[in-house]
Symmetry: C2
Subunit: 349 residues, 2 copies
């Protein structure tokens, strides 16, 4: 069960020998091996093939001393499973060709069992677990959170102001709540299925939730995130609840659930932890752009994060958001090793 891994211990706020570290989007374009595969396959082809998804998942595990693998997938396939036409367009990112713009669009969305519509990721999880069996490295499954999925579903892609999504929320509250109910079921079932397939931790990415006011989060989002997380926790694996720009409502995010709260670099880790209290572990929070600095500066910044955590049990070192495509690979390797070395010197508990 690999229950004695640093990463899973830290999720449970148990003492560890060194601070565990993994990086959001650790399987990605900054690695030559990934770029080589992307010359042959689209993102969706990589996700839809369990063998390729397994291969990509393993790339950073083979290259760096990471404490967790995360299944190669995307936050958006649950939307495809519900009936939205998802594609990734070069230079534009994700696109949904039939976005949700009316109550009738919400009605058409269907919550399908993930075993039917998202089996490729569940199969990939099974393959990766076999690959990882000898190493003892735990595997993280994940999904977009209901709000972030709703935002993409309504906008039809990325957005600067999320004006369409918020407008739908304000002007069509019944349809909004119906949409969020379906999304929370889909996300909850998908996360649970990933745990049943072998994922030993689950991360909920509420990447865009920081565009909301705290009041809107409480009224229109929080109950659905909570439902999804509660369903996922039936599997008895730790849940990481991640968002960015959430420093005006960190306590609400915590109250929506999660054993671990992911915070971005816009707050001192120590301040965030004080606000969140001792009941949760914390993941973060180096600025992804910090990895573009000369190494001594990267080291100083990584050390600052570790000093903020101050060896308290329950810190998982990560970036505050996904690693950027142009990040120097050598810096990633040195960072991962430095987190272990420094936290051992520091006397992590």
């Amino acid at each position: 069960m690999h229950n004695d891994s640093r990463f899973l211990k830290a999720c449970r706020r148990e003492p560890v020998d060194a601070t565990p570290v993994w990086l959001m989007r650790q399987a990605g374009r900054y690695m030559a091996a990934y770029r080589a595969l992307r010359e042959k396959y689209t993102i969706l082809e990589l996700i839809h093939s369990p063998e390729l998804a397994c291969e990509v998942t393993m790339q950073p595990i083979q290259a760096f001393d990471l404490d967790a693998a995360i299944i190669f997938a995307d936050i958006l396939p649950p939307l495809a499973a519900m009936g939205l036409e998802l594609d990734f367009v070069r230079g534009e990112g994700p696109v949904l060709y039939n976005p949700v713009r009316s109550p009738a669009d919400v009605e058409r969305l269907q919550v399908h069992p993930p075993e039917e519509k998202l089996s490729f990721t569940l199969d990939a999880i099974r393959l990766v677990r076999q690959e990882l069996a000898g190493r003892g490295t735990p595997l993280i499954g994940f999904s977009g959170a209901p709000f972030t999925l709703a935002a993409y579903a309504i906008e039809g892609g990325g957005s600067r102001h999320y004006a369409k999504a918020k407008q739908f929320m304000m002007a069509e509250p019944d349809a909004w709540h119906a949409l969020m109910t379906k999304l929370s079921q889909m996300v909850g079932q998908y996360l649970l299925a990933q745990a049943h397939a072998g994922a030993q931790a689950l991360q909920v990415f509420d990447s865009w939730v920081g565009h909301l006011s705290p009041a809107d989060y409480r009224n229109y989002v929080m109950p659905y995130t909570r439902q999804a997380i509660e369903m996922a926790r039936q599997a008895d694996v730790p849940v990481i609840h991640f968002g960015t720009d959430t420093n005006g409502m960190l306590e609400l995010l915590r109250d929506a659930g999660g054993d671990v709260i992911g915070v971005d670099w816009r707050i001192e880790l120590d301040t965030a932890w004080q606000r969140l209290g001792d009941g949760v572990a914390i993941q973060g929070n180096l600025d992804p752009v910090a990895l573009f600095a000369p190494w001594p500066e990267v080291e100083k910044r990584a050390q600052h994060v570790l000093d903020q955590a101050n060896g308290r049990p329950g810190h998982i070192f990560n970036l505050g958001h996904g690693i950027l495509p142009e990040t120097p690979v050598d810096t990633v390797k040195r960072l991962v090793d430095f987190v272990h070395e420094y936290s051992i010197r520091q006397g992590v508990r």
Copy 2:
């Protein structure tokens, strides 16, 4: 001197008869009169002509019962004054054709007296003050803050991650500090000159500062914002210090200076004020997207902001960022009137 206006009283945290309200970018594309002028003139032509800038400044004042005017200009002309080639490209926003990418580029930038290089805005301020003389509406001058100007100068325009700006900061700290020194002088002198020309309050827009970690803000930005604000305050007019995504470092922003701190909608106004303390007034914080809602929902949200302020002296109602181009004009009119009516009913102090 219009020192008895609601807006200036609120800046000084004195009791008012009703909560003052103005809107960032209140002279803008959501108004037909502005769009009509933009069909004939570019943004730079409007800014560079004191007569046209005066006309645009007055458009929202004539249409709505606003408690302050803000001079029509942009946050970036100080960069043009220093030697960067500024343009506004349709659909792309501001562009700087010769961005700062090396220490030599920083050396080439020159701090010119605003009376020489930015006289068009100073002249526009003089014209607007004449126009406003009969009304008693105070006029706000403004500038981009040193960091936001540096970010634009280095990126050459808007950016998603501000990777180039942060990379320059980390890799070329001496050049960064030299750049920020020049920017703080330029901004400080420009703000002071606007006050001398007749601006009765000054706003510093640090629009992108929320992309920084608190530690980076403290080390690389805060001293320069403080210098610029201190120079501006020689004129003895209130300074509004505005940023977005700043909820992880709100106290640092306050400590950098400003009689009024502008907060976005990502935090409850009451929570923000508790963190900032009684020593400052507060401006904000309705989500600009809220104005796209049906009116009863807009009213509910405006009321929520006013209830959070709870009639305490020192609240200036505003959006949490600039008004969006597609905002319905009728909603703006109703919002401005509602803020006055409700705060009178509420018994603002």
